[in-house]
Amino acid sequence: MEFSKTMEVVMASSKLDAGISCFDIETGAEQLRLKSCASPPHGLISLSERFFVSSQVRESSSSSSGSILHWFWTKAVADVKSFPAEPISPLVSNSDGTYIIGGGCSGNIYLWEVASGRLLKKWNAHYRGVTCFVLSDDESLLISGAEDGCVRVWSLLMIFDDIGRTAATHLYEHNFSEHTLKVTDIVTGHGGCNAIIISSSEDRTCKVWSLSKGKLLRTIDFPSAINAVALDPCEHIFYAGGKDGKIYVVSLTGENTSASKYGMHIVGALSDNSNNAVTCLAFSKSGVLLVSGWEDGRIRIWDTKSKQIVRMLQHSKGQVSNVIVVHRPLNSTSQTSMATQSSASKRNASLLPPLDKYVTSTDDNDDFKTVTASQHPLSRVTDALYCSSDVMKSQIKELQQEGSTAASQLELDRLRVECKRSLQMAEQWKRMHGDLHQYCADELVDCGRNGGDK
């Protein structure tokens, strides 16, 4: 299939309703704009780069209403709307897009399964609103930051371990409470549960923690509150976007970094000489370009090698609240495959049910068992997918009944392959027929000629 061709794009959303804009990171050309999205910071994610999910917090309407919207590449209007029990602001999902984790403004964390829309788990995590999430690179640990300055590390295994939960005094693995003000962003390094994490806060510090030891490794003081951090893929430098419009470059290696004019460990700053605050940061897939969202509605892309702005994109008037870098399948734009894509989007739409509001009590004990599925027909990588057995069961049932959406999709795939094979077959028949015809005609002519001659 044609999935190998992709384009790296920057997706950005704003707190004010300006939709989700999408720019090509190489050329800066605006690709498309998904409509009506007003997401809080960390409220925009891509589900395995195929769908977009964004939480919505609208300040104007009554405070109790929050929603989560889903988009697809091809459709500018949100397809699925879900209404959770309270406004959700940060979201995170695993790389397969099997589940979504959302943080509520009262400190609860919600975990949904995407395929069924079921709310698998909800637990009280923080005293105040959750502000940011990150998953460790092996996706077994969830690290959440909150308005109360706490950073907590949750083991997803523990969350689903009912017996262990009752035995333990607390759910979390670690509780880091050294920040005095709201935690604004967290990044994690490589190495699963041995990684370091860096949290930034409005108390003008970034703190480096060790996940394995559960202790504070280093505190870096900044001249201003820090809104976002991005970690260099090699983990020797990280970038911290400040409220004063500077992106500070902080060295993680080196025993005693000489203090620059900004402070210990800070080796320099990327600055645009504007007083607008940096609101979000993201690295390109190559790890060279640093995408930054700003308060003035612009997106500035820096080359971290040359420390120069290479591109400036205008998103909207209000502040950019999220930037993410994703791969966009190129064939979705090409006209020829439009028809199949639209059918695919329809399939997607029906595949993603809205997220549940409450945890449904289940009588089945084996509901939460995750099962390794065989390879998904559309997935590019050969990673195993995880679905709860429930979903699997329902899909199998649908397959048997052959009436449902997922089943029909499988059927469609099968048919498509069959069609292709049939076409090839027909081609072959045709060619054979042509050859035969030619042969027969030649033979006939020859016969006639010979006969005539004779």
């Binding site: 009262s106 706490c150 017996i163 262990g164 939960r165 693995e173 005095t180 709201k182 409005e202 983990e235």
Partner: protein, 889 residues
Amino acid sequence: MGKPPTSKKQQKRGVDFKKFKRKIGRKLPPAKNATNTNIQSKAIILPEQSVASERLGLALSKKGLTLKELLQQTSHHNAKVRKDAVVGIGDLTIKYPNELKVHRLAIIEKLRERISDEDKAVREALYLLLKTVIFPGSLEDASGPFISLIMAYIFNAMTHLVIDIRLMAFKFFDLVVQHYPSSFLSSAEKVLQNYGDILRKNHIFLEDKGKLKNALGGLVRCLSLLPFVNKEIGSASDNCNNASGALHAFESEAPKKNTGFSSLVTTLEDLLQILYNCFQELTSSVHVMSQIDVKSIDCMSCVLKCIDLAVKFFILGNSSSETGFEVLVPSMSKGAEFVLGKFTIQMLLKKLLQIFPLDPIHQPSQKDDEIYYVWNVGIAEILMRISEAVDPLAILGGRFLLFIENALSAQICCSTRSSRSIWENNSVLLLPFIPRLVLRVQSDWKFRLLQAFTNTFKGCKPNSALNVACVNAIEDMLLPSNRDITLFADTSESEILDFQISWIQELPHLLVQLGDGHPSSSKVILHLLLRLGQCAPINPSLSSGYDNLQKSLTEFYSTPQAEGAMHNGPFVKLPRDCQELAVSSLYYFSSLDPLLLRSLASCCLCNTLEPFVLFRIIEVLDSSHKAGHIQIADYISFCVTLLTRFTITPENSECAANNKKNASHYRTVKAVTDVVCSCLSHIGDDATILQMLQRIMVSELSLNPPLDNKRAILRLLVLLDSKPTILPEQSICNLANSLLQYLLDAASYIPEDDDDVDYDESNDKDQMRICQYYFVPCFFLFDRSGRLLSLVLNLMGSLIAGAKPLDPSHQCNEPAFDRANRISAITSILIFMRGDMKLRRALSSCKAEMTYILQNLLSLQASNELNMNLEERHRLQLSYDQLKSATNR
């Protein structure tokens, strides 16, 4: 040779030798053939030196002995010589430190034999020598062989028959451990066994309590070196060095692993048993005494301390063995309670509970009461520690709780001043256990204990250890921290809540009472307040309690006095880390009180406040507003107050006189203005905010505040306004008046003309920058509104004409001179304005106003009503010419 001469002599005998009569007491005359053995010489020259001078190049002690000799003498049979030798080695090594470095092992090898010396003086001298010279001098290098050399002899001495030598050996061991703490663990077991042996022989000690005290004192030191016992100290030092260390550096984990741990446990269990016996004997002996002597008091406290330390080891050793990340460990095993030496400490718990509390049998005097109180507190501490770990329900008997209640409410001894201090010192020990104890007891006892605790908290002095301990206990009881006391936080029992609220209410008063003199205590309280704010939402009454703090907290920042003046509270003078904590806790109020905001604002205006803290306050209030914790009107009025009132009185009077304030002053004021303006513009849509603010701003301007504040106001107007202006007509008219005054004030910063050749170049540049700083906001306004420009120009014209005195109150005295000044100021303003490209265009469209000004100038020149002197006339003429040429250009 041989015979012939002999025979000859004999022959001549009678002739050759005259016979003398020998008499006793008389000297014989010398024989004639006697050889003169006298040697006479002017000088004697020897090729080699004598013994004394041989030592000139060597290291010598005060008595002139070399190291070798001294070392030999250490094993002399005379005790005095041995002692002198040891002292001599000390002299020598102090004088020649190099000698020690080279011969360290040799010295130790010889000296260690003296550890079990029979003579006390020798041992003391050796102790002193090791302590002052040898150990400090050989710290730096690896000391493996060194330690093992000594240790063997120390252990030997520990099993010596003579008790004194044994005791001294413990002292030596203590010394070694002090200098090489790592060497303790390897030999701990042996040492503790030896201690156990010596304590078993209590019949010796009952005779001489001094010795017992000695031994126990050493044991206390040893036990406090056990792993886990001093955990707090270790973690503190960990925090210190985290700043410089590498993040991914390799860390060897070898020393952290405790090998041979289990054998240590059994040894300690034995020791605990022995200690308990010791304790029992002491109590019985004390009961018999009519007057308790000092030595038994000391012994008793030492025994209790030892027991406490051993128990601590058992309990903390267990809890710290399960650190680290255990994602993959099945979580079932985590909850299992496993305590080292569980059985032993349970036994101890039972035994101690039976005898608790100790009561004097005889008629107790005041003094006895105090002594028993101290002991009982010690026992209670042990009891609570054990029961927390193994048997939470054991101590909940009425007798025990009654003691705790009495101890807390100071009913036991509190009559005199000294006893009060004893009470304070000992209650501190009990307080850390109170939260868990309260958690477990029945509800009526809960109430009584909390009541007692509250009384203690309210009764203690603001800056005492007791107070800090109380605050820590409160922190445990209020916050659902990672310690496992979560029950308090979401309790619904109203009476406990009442207590909690009353503690919270007390905190701001404490802060104010502490003032700025005790930053460490203030920090503890501020930290508690911050944590409280962070987790306040878990309980509605708690959060309302937190919100109610605001009123009493205002005093901490500043208090209003008569006539609107504000008196700054302790906040301004506290160190920065305390200030940061205080500012951070502001964020967590669910709605900030206007009164608190007001006192904050007056803090911000205070000149002694560091700019850093000022910016922090603004930043925190900004995010607090974003989170919806401040009413918009309050927030705006806070910002506007800052904008219109913030000044820095220049500390350098010379600068002030020069009208050239230093650069940092400008930077701070500008930064504050920028920050506040950007805060205000972030509130919402610029035009809307302008609608709200413009009237206040214009009226503030007309009140004639200092120049910097006027500039700040104009800067805000410029920031919010757009081109063309959206300011209403009314405001523009009002603005024109104040703007003229502003321009006239700022005109003094316009650099002089070029005819002042000897003007400093860099200074000129600075001046220009300052000038731009003041003028640019006006230029923006003029650019956006031609109407405003023409109004201002008209006003200038009429000012020249003198139709309208600007400020009659102080300009009446010298009208003529003043007018001339004003005219030259106006001229320079206009010329400066023409220097700006945009404004030149705007000015050229205001031809009529310009001519009006010129006309007025002309008529002024023509009129003779003012008695101007020559110079003024000249200046007037000059201005006119300049303006004329400028307009025609």
